[in-house]
Amino acid sequence: MSENIATTGTPSTGGDATQPQHPAWHELWRKEDWWAVWLGLGLVVAGYALFSAGSSLAWIAVAPAKWTTFSQLTAQLSAAAPRYAALLGLFLVVFTVAASFIGYKAKSFIPAFILVFLVSVAIYAAGSWAQAQRYNLEPPLVALVLGLLVSNLLPLPEWLNSGLRVEFFIKTGIVLLGAGLPFTLIVWAGPVAILQASIVSIATFLVIYFVGRRLGLERPLAATLGAGGAVCGVSAAIAVGGAVRAKKEDPPIAITLVILWAIVLIFVLPFVSRALLLPAGVGGAWIGTSEFADAAGLAAAQTYGGIASHTAGISGTADQALIPYTLIKVVGRDVWIGIWAFVLAFISITRWEVSTTGRKANAGQIWWRFPKFVLGFIAASLVITLVVRGFTFADYNKLVKPGLVAPLISLRTWAFTFAFLSIGLTTRLRGLASAGRKPFVAFTSGVIVNVVLGYVLSAVVFRDYWANLTH
């Protein structure tokens, strides 16, 4: 029934506790965050080893090229069939090994992932159609809409769930994304990202919390909703829900509201950004500040990057949308979840339940709840930054980019595509918990503040900064 403390090695706050049966490092192979680090960094190191030996991951990191006619598409897919088979084999092996350690059902993971891969190839190919942009067929949106339609209109077999690991795919992709980001940029832009994200997070939390309290919601539910809207969506809702000892029914309410609004914003933020002709970096910053879950935000940011790169009047490339997004969302918001949980646990214990409890807020949770994949993201950036240090700019473009960085970007795009498809396929609207009017009103108040304040900071206050970040 219980994985208990045994799997996480988290020590107790009280002297009455049973001792953990396994040390803390047990977590290194039991949590998907760490596996995202091992896989992402493993691919970066393998890529570097091949590059140093005069070879490259480029052969296996295949992706559909632009095509105009269906016969062109079938010809290129046939010619590259062994490379696609090898890519599937690579992902299948590394993900299945990870799955078996983490505790996913590996037996059903394999067929489910093969299906996810094949559909992802079709989505990627559709996005490479020369007319795709004309019809807004951005791969993240195609993956999401297709997944939503299938999962909500057709009965899906239970075994398929094992291969739909949104968070695992997205975290692995984010670690790989670090490989395309100079470490100096993280150091330089990190403080601004943290400042902007903190302003919006605190304002959003306070609005949701106090509107919720005004409407009569209990404090733990109001705090769980506030964290879901302010920090990192579903992940924050379950972290803070646990920290404040929410009722069992509270996290599902927050999860429902986060998912519904996150899906709405995946479509709204990129298209409003386009209507306002926001530079790619500014749009990415806004999405990073105002979207909720990492996966949803990446879908929106990648969509806007795609739109920006081919729309007249909008400056910037796909990466120029993704980089500010990632800095604000991951560095500015995600990494602080442990602090939020600790502070709210402290308030919960000392103010909300002071008469009935003698618990202590456990400061250890700042680390236990830390999203460890961020360490992989930073390490990947550091590794590639050190590698390219000895190259001139011309050699970087001629050798390092095609031989090392571009294949890692391709692998990252695959990981994100798996995640976007999985979001759609796992979002079964009928299965979500009913949220109720009061939580909806409280959360929506926070969404409005979040979106408006995020826009003001990204597109007005720090506009030049985000627009020119990577120039």
Partner: protein
Amino acid sequence: MQPTSNPGVTGRCGACAHFTNDPDSLEKAFPGLRSMGSGFSSVRASDGICGLWNRYLPAWDGCEKFHAAGSSEAAIISRKTLP
């Protein structure tokens, strides 16, 4: 009454028969969790559901109703409290 670590507490939730925190069970108990989150993520730490108090709480909490997992009573409790 709330789960606490007051004197009289005999064990932590993480070792209690009333407590469920295996990721699969949590993903079933919290609809939508696997859609934009995960029961297997670090942020969850070792939190789980206490079937006795109907709360979602950390494994390092405890209360005076602690029932060691694995006991014969625990087997009955676990059948009743699984989501």
